[in-house]
Amino acid sequence: MNSLHQQSDAELVRQAKRGSTKALDALVQRYALPLYSFIRALAGSSSLANELYQETWYRCFQALRTRYRERGHFRTWLFGIAVNVVRQSRQQSRTLPLDEDRFDTLVSQEHSEDEVVNGERKRYLYRAIARLPEPEREVVLLRLQSDLTFREIAEVLNKPLNTVLSHMHRAVKRLRSELKELA
C-alpha cells in the first residue's frame, strides 16, 4: 500500500488501466480532498458538491477505460473534468453559484475563542469569492483550495498563463476591497 502511494500519477494510471483497483483507489485517495474542496467551493451546497464530485470521478473512470492517453498531466486533466462538470451543472440550474448563503455551511464549526475572528473573516472571504465572476472564481479556488500551480491552472482551464494571472489579479483586487469593508 505504501509503495502505491509513493508512485507517480502516470504509473498509477498505467496500473489502473490494466485493471488494478488498488492503483485506481490510490489515485482517488490522492485527489479526493483537493478535488472535493474545489468542487464544493464552486458548487456551494454540499449535496450538489457530492453529486458533482461523484460525476467527476465517474467521467474520469469512463475516460480512463477508453480514450485517456498520456498527454498532459493526470492532475490537470482531472481538474479539467471537474471544471466542465460544474459548468454544465450551472448551465442546467442558473441560480446555483450565487446563492451566497450556501457558503455559510462551509465555515467549520470551530467555536474556540481565538478562532471566532478568523471564522468571521473566512465567512466574508467565502462570500466574496462566491461573488467573483466565474473565470476569476475558478482560478482562485484552483489555486487556494486545490493547490494547483498557475501553470497547471492554465492547463486545466485551457487558457494562456497570462490570462490566468490577470484573472487572479482582478480577483485579488475585488477580494481586497471587500475585506477592507469588513475591517
Binding site: 489502473a16 485493471g19 454540499s46 461523484q54 467549520s108 473573516r121 473566512k122 479556488l141 494571472l165
Partner: protein, 181 residues
C-alpha cells in the same frame, strides 16, 4: 513609477517565479511601490490556509477499469495462438525436411549408381541385363533397388549377371522378383 509587474508579483507570492532576473526587477519595484507591497501581503495571507476546511470527501466506488481475468484470458489466447502456430510450422518444417532428406538420399544412391555405371563392368552388366531380359528397363530396376542392396549388388555385378541368367532360365515369370531374390 514603472508599471506594476502584477503577474510576476502573483507568481512570486506563490513561489512560482523561476526567473531570477524578473525576481530582481520585482524586488526593485516592490521597494518603491506601496500598492504592490500591500497586494503581496494580501496574497501571502490568502495562502495561509484561508480556505482550508474540514470538508470530508464522500467515498468513491472504484471499479476495475478492465477485468484482470479478461486480461489474463486475452494473453492466454494469444499464447495459445503462438503455440499452435509454432507447432504447425514445426510439423510442416519437419515433414518437408524429412521428404527432402529422403529425396536427397535417393539422389545420392542414384549418383552412386551413375558413378558405378561409369565403370565398364557395370555397363557390361547392364548391357547383358538388357540382353538377358528383353524389354527390361534396367535403369528403373536399379532405381528400385536403391536404398537396399544396390551397392553390394553393384559390387558383385558380374556374379549378379550370371545368377540372373541362371534364375531367368529357372523362372521365366516376373523379372523383378527374380532380380530381388
Amino acid at each position: 513609477m514603472s508599471r506594476c509587474p502584477v503577474n510576476d508579483l502573483i507568481l512570486y507570492a506563490y513561489g512560482e517565479l523561476e526567473d531570477p532576473e524578473r525576481e530582481a526587477a520585482l524586488f526593485a519595484h516592490l521597494r518603491t511601490c506601496k500598492s504592490c507591497q500591500e497586494e503581496l501581503e494580501f496574497l501571502r495571507n490568502l495562502q495561509r490556509g484561508d480556505l482550508e476546511e474540514g470538508a470530508k470527501p464522500p467515498p468513491v466506488a472504484v471499479p476495475p477499469l478492465r477485468a484482470p481475468v479478461h486480461w489474463r484470458f486475452h494473453w492466454l489466447r494469444v499464447a495459445a495462438g503462438i503455440l499452435l502456430f509454432l507447432f504447425a510450422a514445426g510439423t510442416t518444417w519437419w515433414l518437408t525436411t524429412q521428404r527432402q532428406d529422403k529425396s536427397a538420399f535417393d539422389r545420392a544412391v542414384q549418383n552412386e549408381i551413375l558413378l558405378a555405371a561409369q565403370t565398364d563392368s557395370l555397363m557390361a552388366a547392364l548391357r547383358n541385363l538388357n540382353l538377358a531380359f528383353p524389354g527390361l528397363d534396367s535403369g528403373s530396376v536399379l532405381a528400385d533397388c536403391a536404398g537396399t542392396e544396390v551397392l553390394s549388388l553393384l559390387g558383385n555385378a558380374e556374379r549378379l549377371l550370371s545368377d540372373l541368367r541362371d534364375d531367368f532360365q529357372a523362372h521365366s515369370g516376373s523379372q523383378k522378383e527374380v532380380i530381388f531374390q
